[in-house]
């Protein structure tokens, strides 16, 4: 469904952050990307969302090229939770949430979806009328995820969605992710919590700076690759190496 083919991304003239990375996400699949700080994970997601231009390579979603003229990720129903959360500080929590569904025409269902998200993240209901920047870090993260879900996306792109969340909310997020996957949503997930990421994902990519794939496959498959295990510092089946 999503296909990233040998892309290169530069920042300015001197930083070549992604160098020939490819990855595939099939319909209904949950794919995670893990790797060290600065490996280029976020950059790949940005490229997928058309936030940064690719110098070469192709990214297609449903056969349509991303970044080609006229393409809008929203039209393709792709939702994105960026690393920086992208909360609008000048808007209220409610306005932020509504903004997630700004392109949707089905007003009634939107209201229902808002209700669903408020059930899921009660804190949002509590602060509905408040400026979004006043929320605590973790509360903002919840808002960002809820907003992304408001689109009813076909592809959900999450960049470290559990950043700054309390363990109990981290569990909630992973539950949500699993549930969405069960409902058939396609998800591309970047996560520092590699253990959990490998656990929930159908397949994972291990990325190494500067933006290259080191290994790819299910947790078990990855566990069989010595350089991956070496790089991660633990076996991807869930146990910390001594």
């Amino acid at each position: 469904m999503l296909s990233v083919d040998d892309i290169h991304v530069h920042y300015g003239a001197s930083v070549h952050a992604v160098q020939g990375l490819s990855l595939q996400v099939g319909e209904g699949e949950l794919v995670s990307v893990i790797g060290q700080n600065g490996a280029g994970k976020s950059t790949v997601l940005k490229a997928v969302m058309g936030v940064v231009p690719t110098a070469s390579g192709r990214i297609t979603f449903d056969g349509v090229e991303v970044g080609a003229s006229g393409f809008s990720s929203v039209k393709q129903r792709m939702s994105y939770v960026p690393e920086s959360r992208g909360i609008f500080a000048g808007l209220t929590v409610g306005e932020n949430l509504r903004l997630g569904a700004i392109v949707r025409k089905d007003r009634k269902l939107v209201e229902a979806d808002i209700e669903r998200e408020l059930e899921r993240f009660p804190v949002l209901r509590r602060y509905w009328d408040r400026g979004a920047s006043l929320l605590s870090g973790g509360e903002q993260q919840q808002l960002a995820i809820a907003r992304a879900l408001m689109l009813r996306p076909r592809l959900l792109v999450l960049d470290e969605p559990t950043l700054g969340l309390a363990p109990i909310v981290v569990d909630l997020i992973f539950d949500v992710v699993e549930q969405l996957r069960a409902e058939g949503m396609t998800i591309l997930l970047v996560e520092q919590n590699a253990v959990r990421a490998l656990e929930v994902a159908d397949r994972s990519y291990v990325v190494q700076a500067p933006g290259r794939v080191l290994g790819e496959g299910t947790a078990t498959e990855l566990a069989a690759q010595p350089d991956v295990v070496d790089h991660l510092g633990f076996t991807p089946e869930g146990r910390v190496q001594p």
Partner: protein, 352 residues
């Protein structure tokens, strides 16, 4: 290259560039000499402005007022006493002595700087307290106040009438010396303890506070220092033109200087210097172009020069949104003449 010489590269290069202006001006006949002198005076002013704005990140619209203070002080100190008797016939009793004082040209320059510094000191507490846009508007308000007082206090300032009869003591050489001095001082401040802390405050006020940096105090220091340099520019300007009136120190001058500093790159001293010289050269080229001096006689419609200036300004901003220099400084690396790449201003897409 030793540490010392790397540190001194930028100011030396910049002084070298102003020396080129001096050379061209000296060799090129009276008109060119005049233009070169005025552009060197602009360098002094813009370096002064940059000492505040470049380090603090607050764009000031008020510095022209310091220039005015310098110019008026110079006028009071150097206009021959008999002429002053005529010009300031209605001085209030308490200020009568002003009509009698007279100093040498060099003392006048020093006192002009001192007066501008005093004006800077008086206003410094306000600047120390305000940041960002508020500060920008406060500086604008300061300019409006100074302009209004100069324009209306006719008995003392001659109101909107020109000051006349100043002896011509600014030459292209003194202008060059002043520009070199200003660059040296500007650079010394930029790399000083206070300068670095102020730049930190520019980047993030709260983080700087958390690092124990008294941003307001450093802003005030930079303000007073830059006021002094701008006072110098005003003094040079007055004794170069030998006549001026209050309108020379108002919005159009402010905008002209702000254009210089922004085009060059308002965060860097090199940007200030290059902007001042570049825009001066551009202005003169456009003037000659419009008068037909470049096209061999056929003059362009009046106003073309201003229009072209606006277009060049816009185009430059579109091509180089942080000015020509961005936040970089001019350096020579290992003998080869090129700009340092390290400090480019890459913005993070989608925030970071």
């Amino acid at each position: 290259m030793t540490v010392l010489s790397t540190r001194l590269q930028t100011p030396l290069l910049l002084i070298g560039i102003t020396a080129v202006v001096l050379a061209v001006g000296t060799a090129g006949g009276p008109t060119l000499e005049r233009v070169a002198t005025l552009s060197l005076i602009s360098v002094v002013f813009v370096v002064g402005l940059s000492t505040f704005s470049g380090n603090s990140g607050v764009m000031s619209f008020g510095h022209v007022a310091f220039m005015a203070v310098g110019a008026y002080t110079t006028a009071y100190l150097t206009i021959p006493v008999p002429l002053k008797g005529v010009l300031f016939a209605n001085l209030p009793e308490s200020l009568r002595w002003l009509a009698e004082v007279h100093t040498s040209a060099s003392a006048a320059v020093l006192l002009s700087c001192a007066m501008a510094a005093v004006a800077g000191l008086v206003t410094a507490p306000v600047v120390a307290r305000l940041s960002g846009l508020q500060s920008g508007i406060a500086t604008l308000a300061f300019l409006l106040v100074v302009y209004n007082v100069l324009n209306s206090w006719t008995d003392v300032t001659r109101g909107s009438s020109s000051m006349i009869g100043l002896p011509r003591s600014t030459t292209i050489v003194t202008a060059f010396v002043a520009a070199a001095l200003a660059i040296a001082v500007g650079w010394a401040y930029r790399t000083s303890r206070s300068g670095l802390q102020l730049q930190a405050g520019r980047e993030d006020y709260w983080a700087a506070q958390a690092a124990g940096i008294a941003v307001g105090r450093h802003r005030a220091i930079a303000w007073v220092l830059s006021a002094t340099i701008c006072g110098l520019a005003g003094s040079l300007y007055a004794s170069f033109l030998t006549t001026f009136n209050v309108n020379a120190f108002f919005l159009s001058a402010t905008f002209a200087f702000v254009v210089m500093i922004v085009l060059g790159g308002y965060l860097s001293l090199s940007g200030a210097v290059l902007g001042a010289i570049g825009v001066s050269v551009l202005q003169e080229l456009l003037r000659r172009l419009q008068d037909g001096g470049l096209t061999g006689g056929s003059a362009l419609p009046p106003g073309t020069a201003n229009l072209l200036l606006a277009l060049v300004l816009l185009l430059t901003l579109v091509k180089a949104p942080y000015g020509v220099m961005g936040a970089r400084e001019l350096v020579l690396v290992r003998g080869g003449r090129r700009l340092r790449r390290g400090a480019q201003a890459v913005r993070t897409p989608a925030g970071s």
